[in-house]
């Protein structure tokens, strides 16, 4: 008994001592990175993760944040909602992360970010686009919203796709969307926006993930006299649509949501993908020194000539810098303080997508506004600027619109 009591006292003493000792200077700041590093959307997850690694390494080289290095705790959520929720709990309770970046898939974000909200830990969506993501814990139901985002959300993309089709003079719009949360939420956004313009799509069609044959959908669009196709989906199925059109010998312009810039689209569609356009926050060009450095660093570090999914990489890279700036401003790793700092970020953060000046406010948790997004175009296995004026102005940094949201 005496022995065990002594042991207990010793343990207690140790614990107290540990608890009271201020964090050592070299104690790393843990940041969770969650995304699918395997599976159908892994190209996005891996690009995001690899770019985040570069950002963290750069920050650490410059002395870290608050004199402490950043440590990325990477977890694979496999694009599965339930795995994402597990990962969130592990990162919060076991790894005790200060904040988390990531989420490629809207469904995973919606299933997992409630744990961060409850734990009052900021979570930073850098790829997932579902409009609802940043509204899940909005006022007045919640006192503070811990969800931030620096990707182009669906409503914004949907509006761009429609406006692009209309401005090119297309009148008969066929709408194709996959049957997942992502596709159907996007389809809803497009239909709503079309309705405000008094346009009704000539046909609205659905397809499933892993569908092999798009003949029925495309024939319906063709019969309805569509002169443009708006498609909401991810790489492989969007590619099947492009291939299906080639098979039917029917070619109308195709405007898609951003994932047609995924490597899988480029591989599977091949030449059939040429000319497909999609909203992009980032195009691989070396116009600005910051972009040039980022791209060269990425290519060199990972031995590639192209980022698998450039948009995911660029946004992942920027998210680390935004978070680091907020931690610095907060002067602590306390969740509520970091959130407050993010909502009123004083530092101008120079990223590769844009230069962030006051990217967030208490009401607005989306850093990307419409003016920052350009149209990309598939051209022989690469994504280039779809419009000449965008290509010409590539070096101009588009900052957040004041009137946004």
């Amino acid at each position: 008994m005496t022995v065990s009591r002594r042991a207990l006292m010793g343990a207690l003493a140790c614990a107290t001592a540990l608890g009271l000792t201020p964090a050592q200077a070299a104690d790393p700041i843990k940041i969770g990175v969650t995304g699918p590093y395997t599976g159908g959307s892994s190209a996005m997850g891996v690009s995001m993760r690899d770019a985040a690694r570069l950002a963290a390494a750069e920050i650490n080289k410059g002395g870290g944040v608050l004199g402490r290095p950043l440590l990325l705790v990477e977890r694979d959520d496999e694009a599965k909602n339930e795995v994402g929720a597990q990962v969130a709990q592990e990162l919060i309770n076991k790894e005790k992360v200060v904040a988390t970046i990531g989420f490629i898939n809207t469904g995973v974000a919606l299933a997992a970010q409630r744990f961060y909200q409850e734990a009052e830990i900021p979570v930073f969506n850098n790829v997932a686009t579902g409009t609802i993501i940043t509204n899940q814990f909005k006022e007045p139901d919640y006192e503070a919203n811990y969800v931030f985002r620096n990707s182009a959300y669906d409503v914004l993309q949907a509006g761009m796709m429609v406006d692009e089709a209309v401005s090119q003079g297309f009148k008969k719009i066929a709408l194709l969307a996959d049957s997942t949360n992502y596709g159907q939420l996007g389809r809803e956004d497009i239909e709503k926006y079309l309705a405000t313009k008094g346009i009704k799509p000539v046909t609205v069609e659905k397809f499933n993930i892993k569908d092999v044959d798009m003949t029925a959908q495309l024939l319906k669009a063709q019969q309805a006299g569509a002169d443009v196709i708006l498609a909401y989906g991810i790489g492989p199925e969007l590619a099947q649509i492009a291939n299906g059109m080639a098979k039917l010998g029917w070619k109308v312009p195709m405007i898609t949501s951003w994932p047609s810039s995924m490597q899988s689209f480029l591989d599977i569609a091949g030449a059939n993908g040429n000319g497909v356009t999609m909203p992009q926050t980032f195009i691989e060009d070396r116009t600005l020194p910051k972009r040039k450095n980022f791209l060269e660093n990425y290519y060199k570090t990972y031995g590639v000539t192209k980022i698998p999914t450039p948009v995911a990489g660029a946004q992942g890279y920027d998210s680390v810098f935004l978070l680091a700036a907020a931690i610095k401003q907060a002067g602590s790793t306390d969740g509520p303080k970091i959130r407050a700092a993010l909502e009123n970020l004083n530092e101008r953060v120079e990223g590769v997508v844009t230069t962030y000046e006051k990217p967030f406010s208490a009401k607005d948790h989306n850093a990307i506004t419409r003016n920052m997004v350009v149209f990309g175009k598939v051209q022989d296995g690469k994504i280039v600027y779809a419009k000449e004026e965008d290509a010409k102005n590539a070096g101009v940094v588009r900052v957040k619109e004041k009137s946004a949201n």
Binding site: T38, G39, G40, S42, A43, S179, E205, K206, F207, N208, K210, V212, D213, T215, A216, Q217, L219, K220, Q223, P236, N243, A246, K247, L248, G249, S264, D267, I268, G270
Partner: protein
Amino acid sequence: MAIFLQLIASGVAVGMIYAAIAFGYQLTFATSKTLNFGQGEALALGALFGLTMVPFVGYWLMIPLVLVFGFALGAVVERLGVRPAVKIKSEYGWIMATIALGIIFRNVAENIWGRDDLKFPSPLSEEAIQVGGTRVLPMELLIVGGALLMMLAVEIFNRKSIWGKAVVATSNDIDAAGLMGINTQKIITLSYSISAMTAAFAGVLVAPVTLTGATMGSVLALKAFAVAIIGGLESGLGVIVGGLILGVAETLTGFYISTGYKDVPGLILLLVVLSIRPVGLFGKAVIKKV
């Protein structure tokens, strides 16, 4: 009319994919009254193995290698998953065992080849050609031709070769075949080997159209299962007809009703067949004496 023909053509191509896979179910069911529920994984492994071989030996030489690979794979499944269950006369053991083996195969494939969908090189031009008012991909013609050829080859093997005759004898009456001196154990192994071989071949055949990956077989194998039930698990002709019905039903529903309900008529058909003719459209009604 042109549209209707185009829908039929696409439906036939998809249907033959289902039929080619369903054919594998039918082979093992005939001899042992068991099925390999890992058929979708055998298909994926065949395609992935083929994809790995193509750069070394070229497309056409890869096919025999894939056939050998599938043959061996089927023997493994039978040994590990089916034989122990059949031996102890377990009614359901083989179901769990083949599903488990399928999951293991999928995980192994994911570890070796990753989980991305890969592009399979197409041996033929990817430009569509005109055939009587419809446009089809040369690859789709190859799928239809290849699948029919494969089924024909297995039929000829069953009818002409001594091994094939033993397979037929075993499927007709396993006890009588055993009494006649046929090593039915070996014949069951053989039927599993041929079944996995057809799956692996089907995998290579469809991969240029469906994309290649560890999970490529999951949806296809499920639909093929429906096809096998509709057509009848005992009949080779049945799976072809069943496949065509399901494939054409899908594209026609997609066009004339709604793409959101594409998969529904096939499943309704499945329910109807099960309630009216449980042995399938072409199945032989067998009276089980107890």
